[in-house]
Amino acid sequence: MIETIDISKVYDVVAIRKHFPALKREVKGKPLVYFDNAATTQKPQVVIDALVNYYSNYNANIHRGIHTLAEEATAAFEATRDTAQQFLNAPSREQIIFTSGTTEGINLVAQTWGRQNIKAGDEIVISNMEHHSNIVPWYMLAQEKGAVLKVIPINEKGELMMDEYEKLLTGKTKLVSIVHVSNALGTINPVKTIVEKAHAVGAVVLVDGAQSTVHLDIDVQDIDCDFFVLSSHKIYGPTGVGVLYGKKHLLESMPPYQGGGEMIKEVYFDNITYADLPYKFEAGTPNIADTVAFKAALDFTKAIGKETIRHYENGLLHYATEQLEQIEGLRIIGTAKNKISVISFVVDKVHPQDLGILLDNRGIAVRTGHHCAQPLMDCYRIPGTTRASFAMYNTKEEIDALIAGLHKAIKMLA
């Protein structure tokens, strides 16, 4: 149970690790070192229990039934909406739309708000460090509408060039869609400033919070973004659930995304009226079980405290950076001043894939490749990187294992 975590004096990582059953396993005969947290985090027992409990005790379709199970399931599902609202400091629960994840959130905005508002010649601003999911939906929309994609360049440290950003903003800019934290570099972007500048030219701003929500305190009202999207599975929750937050007047003005049950008020063959927010955007039976369990993940994270976790993860980031910098021929990609606990690196004459295979052979899970950010890799003129990303349960000893594994791998490959 969460209450047993003692973080009153020191960060008790041993106690925290006990909540994550997957961390107990071995890989290739060695204790698992899981450093692929930016791809997805492991799940605490409370989340797994919430899933099992839902299916074991109150599985029912929501919102429609009047029987007890349906009421219980609906209450649990809607409770997640309340928790998510508080987690993001959204003004109202109606502004929390459940999606299947960040990707669907972005596509929903592109296909509804985008198709309604983007016209030929309009400009959409993204950045050079976007994940493919914040490039492709806008590229598709721009193709369809004859709009233009503009890209904010980055400097060699992996920070947005804010001067260039300002130059890109014109009366034609209709949308700025920007990643809050880069999945490949760890850079924290100054989203509040970005929003302010975009609003000054009348543009709408979407913030991709896939990587930021687990590390940073998110206050959508303070950021003042028009849309904010995130994925549950990157915040210790189940896969297949995400949140789209939107400003109320925008969500209300947008046409529905998908048609089906749940999202309607009345259906006649010649006239259909749509449901109010948030249900207008939640067609069909949603992912009830995972949404219910997502609440447990948010509660768990909140109980430990994001600030406490962030402080600890920053310690890991600094330690790992120091250690990695001592490896000859290793270069860290992404050295922004403001970073979350993600380190990407390349090693002279060594292909990331080879490193990934040899590290896995020692039970160490890292991500190698282009991290679904090919334009970013092109910018650095590299095919990909090796990325270690840390979560609340990682330890200094695991970083030592990574460093030892790297030394051995580089020796084998040299």
Partner: protein, 144 residues
């Protein structure tokens, strides 16, 4: 040499060689060594049409036909994949098209490298095997 031995015989040789290794490190050291020793593919072949794309490493593969047998040359920018390719070439290069198409290549599983054939998008080995077989199939169809 491979012209005299069947695919299965060469596979068996490789399986026996791998029995000598006690640890995974030893196996990978051997594969890396094979990768390093694989002759570099001439630049002229390293063009897009010869690319077998995996998600992370690039593999180039070319085939030559001589008297009903198929000869492969290949290269990659990642050395472990190159080592695995080296073994595939040892097994399949110089064999008859029919035998290549029908080859089960069980040795990959036997030497514990099956994970490299998994469809994880993480490397081009599966695509590589497919492409080698495709060359054999194309040859067969042309000479049927």
């Amino acid at each position: 040499m491979s012209e005299n031995k069947s695919i299965e015989e060469i596979e068996q040789e490789i399986i026996e060689e791998f029995l000598l290794f006690d640890s995974w490190d030893d196996r990978y050291e051997y594969i890396i060594d094979l990768g390093k020793k694989l002759p570099v593919l001439e630049e002229q072949y390293k063009k897009d049409e010869n690319k077998v794309r995996g998600c992370q490493s690039t593999v180039w593969l070319v085939a030559d036909y001589k008297e009903g047998r198929i000869y492969y040359k290949a290269d990659s920018d990642a050395v472990i994949v190159k080592g695995l390719i080296s073994m595939l070439i040892r097994v399949l290069s110089g064999q008859k098209a029919d035998d290549i198409v029908n080859a089960k290549l069980d040795f990959i599983r036997e030497i514990g490298m099956m994970n490299h054939l998994a469809q994880t998008r993480s490397n081009g080995l599966l695509a590589m095997v497919k492409q080698m077989k495709n060359y054999a199939l194309a040859y067969k169809l042309k000479h049927a």
